[in-house]
């Protein structure tokens, strides 16, 4: 049974880690127990998103989905599978290829009380609509002094996939998170995906929901609480995926999985890392990050996007501003390479953070590493 469960566990991270690290002796017993407990079910991120959309659309008739291929094609990544049959073409709209146009239409509908979910096939295409995301959606509540709120969700895959080239691989977390008036969320597990998407749809403000294509097929265990139709996660609160005391590693989206793997490796070397899944990029949960740094005194930030002006830069500044006295080592920042994403598979691997990079950085932060030159 244990072996079967292990197989289903995704490469992105061990769901048993939470239980596992703190109570290693229970690990072997955990799985049979889990089948009787409420935490037996596994769900892919894709199903989590689909079920969240389904439930929100059935609960509120004002919610509708629009985007390219969301209807008859069942979603470019099959996230909206079955929704067209269930809700009809009035609520699941296949749009022409006009990001600027249909995003603006979504914002206009949101001004008037509907709750659109606008899907971008990838967030790279949102650049054609970014005027509406920022100028018409994010700024409107402010410009109209509270008269027009914009309860819209922009969702879609963000960041690098596999071998899709430079124009399909950019991470937009930093771009959107720098804009006041937007809420930016980045789920990792199925629980995150469900809870945050439901919260985003119910939220009266514009939310940018950054998914990850490579996570869609990954399974995570979900408890019965997560499967409840009113389950929501709070926007603006990070989750401590793994408690630790030696170094804090912050990450979001796919990088959480890598961070958890790195934490496993570090544990074998005696470094007990604390992994924080940011979940919410804007508003950033500075309180949780700073509390963690005050406990561990060392920080490694991990992100997939470009390094300059990225999420790691913001977290580093936040920690320097609020917890400088607690830092025992410089903040280590792991980010994607400062180049447009190359196509060749081996180059792509070097352009995106890998587990070894996180382990090395954590060791550097703990002053346990080889000199930098030798680490190249």
């Amino acid at each position: 049974m244990f072996g079967v469960v292990r197989q289903k566990v995704s490469a992105g991270g061990s769901p048993l880690t939470i239980l596992g690290q703190t109570l290693p002796f229970l690990r072997a017993v955990a799985s049979p127990l889990r089948s009787y407990s409420s935490a037996a079910k596994e769900m892919t991120v894709r199903d989590a998103l689909n079920s969240a959309l389904d439930e929100e659309m059935s609960a509120d008739p004002r919610v509708f989905l629009m985007g390219e291929e969301v209807g008859e094609y069942q979603g470019a990544y099959k996230i909206s599978k079955g929704l067209l049959d269930k809700y009809g073409p009035d609520r699941v709209l296949d749009t022409p290829i006009t990001e600027a146009g249909f995003t603006g239409i979504g914002v206009g509908a949101a001004y008037h009380g509907l709750k659109p979910v606008v899907e971008f096939m990838t967030f790279n295409f949102s650049m054609q609509a970014i005027d509406h995301i920022i100028n018409s959606a994010a700024k409107s509540n402010y410009m109209s002094a509270g008269q027009l709120s914009v309860p819209i969700v922009f969702r879609g895959p963000n960041g690098a996939a596999a071998g899709v080239g430079a124009q399909h691989s950019q991470c937009y977390a930093a771009w959107y998170a720098s804009c006041p008036g937007l809420k930016v969320l980045a789920p990792y597990s199925s629980e995150d995906a469900r809870g945050l998407l439901k919260a985003a749809i119910r939220d009266p403000d514009p939310v940018v929901f950054l998914e990850n294509e490579l996570l869609y097929g990954e399974s995570f265990p979900v408890s019965a609480e997560v499967l409840d139709s009113s389950f929501c996660l709070p926007i603006g609160k990070a989750k401590i995926e793994k408690e630790g005391k030696d170094v804090t590693i912050t990450a979001f989206s796919k990088m959480v999985g890598l961070a958890l793997q790195a934490a496993d490796i570090l544990a074998k070397e005696g470094i007990n890392a604390e992994v924080i899944n940011l979940r919410s990029i804007r508003p950033l949960d500075r309180a949780t990050i700073n509390a963690s740094v005050r406990k561990t005194n060392r920080l490694v930030t991990v992100e997939e996007g470009f390094p300059q002006h990225g999420i790691g830069a913001e977290i580093c500044t936040s920690v320097v501003e609020e917890s400088f006295g607690y830092l025992d080592a410089p903040v280590e920042r792991i980010a994607g390479a400062d180049v447009p994403m190359p196509y060749a598979a081996n180059l792509e691997r070097t352009a995106v953070p890998q587990v070894e990079d996180i382990v090395r950085a954590a060791k550097r932060a703990c002053y346990r590493s080889m000199p930098m030159a030798a680490a190249a």
């Binding site: 509708f64 022409p96 239409i105 100028n135 409107s140 109209s144 002094a145 939220d203």
Partner: protein
Amino acid sequence: MSAAFSSVRAIRRPGSFAGEKHSPPVASSKFASDFLGCAGRLPFGALSVSIRPRSARRRGLSSVVAVSDVVKEKKLKRSSSSSDLLITKEEGLELYEDMVLGRTFEDMCAQMYYRGKMFGFVHLYNGQEAVSTGFIKLLKQEDCVVSTYRDHVHALSKGVPARAVMSELFGKTTGCCRGQGGSMHMFSKEHNLLGGFAFIGEGIPIATGAAFTSKYRREVLKESDCDHVTVAFFGDGTCNNGQFYECLNMAALWKLPIVFVVENNLWAIGMSHLRATSDPQIWKKGPAFGMPGVHVDGMDVLKVREVAKEAIGRARRGEGPTLVECETYRFRGHSLADPDELRDPAEKARYAARDPIVALKKYILENNLASEAELKAIEKKIDEIMEDSVDFADASPLPPRSQLLENVFADPKGFGIGPDGRYRCEDPKFTEGTAHV
């Protein structure tokens, strides 16, 4: 001159509602010369002109404008110095008052700007009042208007009080957006004025979305009496922007209740429409997407009103969108910072002679709809409203510092925080299905 204009005239002929206002030769060339303004000739090399006989009827072609015969008849009637009146006395006075309000307000804005009370970008609407009044006075409160940065008069026509608009321009906290929007961002939820957008073309998808909402409410939410129409105003320069075409496509595809109104004042800051557009006749772009395209004289409020009635009626009945091109002119520069050196004074003089307020006044007096005294009374009333709005704006307080961080979000903490301040998911009752969300 005649050679140049005759070929231009031929272009206008096909399916032309362009020439609808007068009987052929005199009118067309007059129209042509007005349309070309002073900016010189059309670059004929760029257009493939085929001169067609004047009598050719173009109804069979799919590119022909499809506007109802009712409008055509009314226009023809009027052109032959009609005797039936298009408006009643009340309507006439209402139109007059609205246009005078718009004009006086904009003139007051200019004065206030030069006195330093207003700042930043201010774009004035002088000369274009017929378009705003002609369309907006036919709308209900629930109908939406989406505008551009030249939005003061659209706001006033839609019903936003002059005091609120003036305070907003002064940046005071009593403005319609509490001083946070400014000249270019007039929003009013109560009057369904959805902005006020600085980027050209930005308002068009928003308007299409508002029209989409109207249709959605009727068909999905089953509010069967929801027949709200949206009117989107934008300029000639915007008609070269991608979003315009994207929305013409989607509005026609989904038959949305929207009217796209082009306020073609021939100039985009200093760029003449003719220098920027391959085919300057914007109304033609409607039929290409499957909706009627109409050209109307935007300096005549009665003509605009007739076309507007038809277009708004179409939308309300669920027959889909219409593209209306109003040929109009702005008497002032693009904004108060624009020295306005590129426009030919002769062109300005020609359009000044077609001032819409003067024309309406003449119509009212000639047809004995009202007396000179009644019109003077209206002007006096507007002057008083102006004085009051300036005094009110002057006396209003500036926004307090605490207002800086307000209204960024409708729900600053994000969904998930319960009324008691704790996270909802920490409430043990949360997943019993009884959680109050």
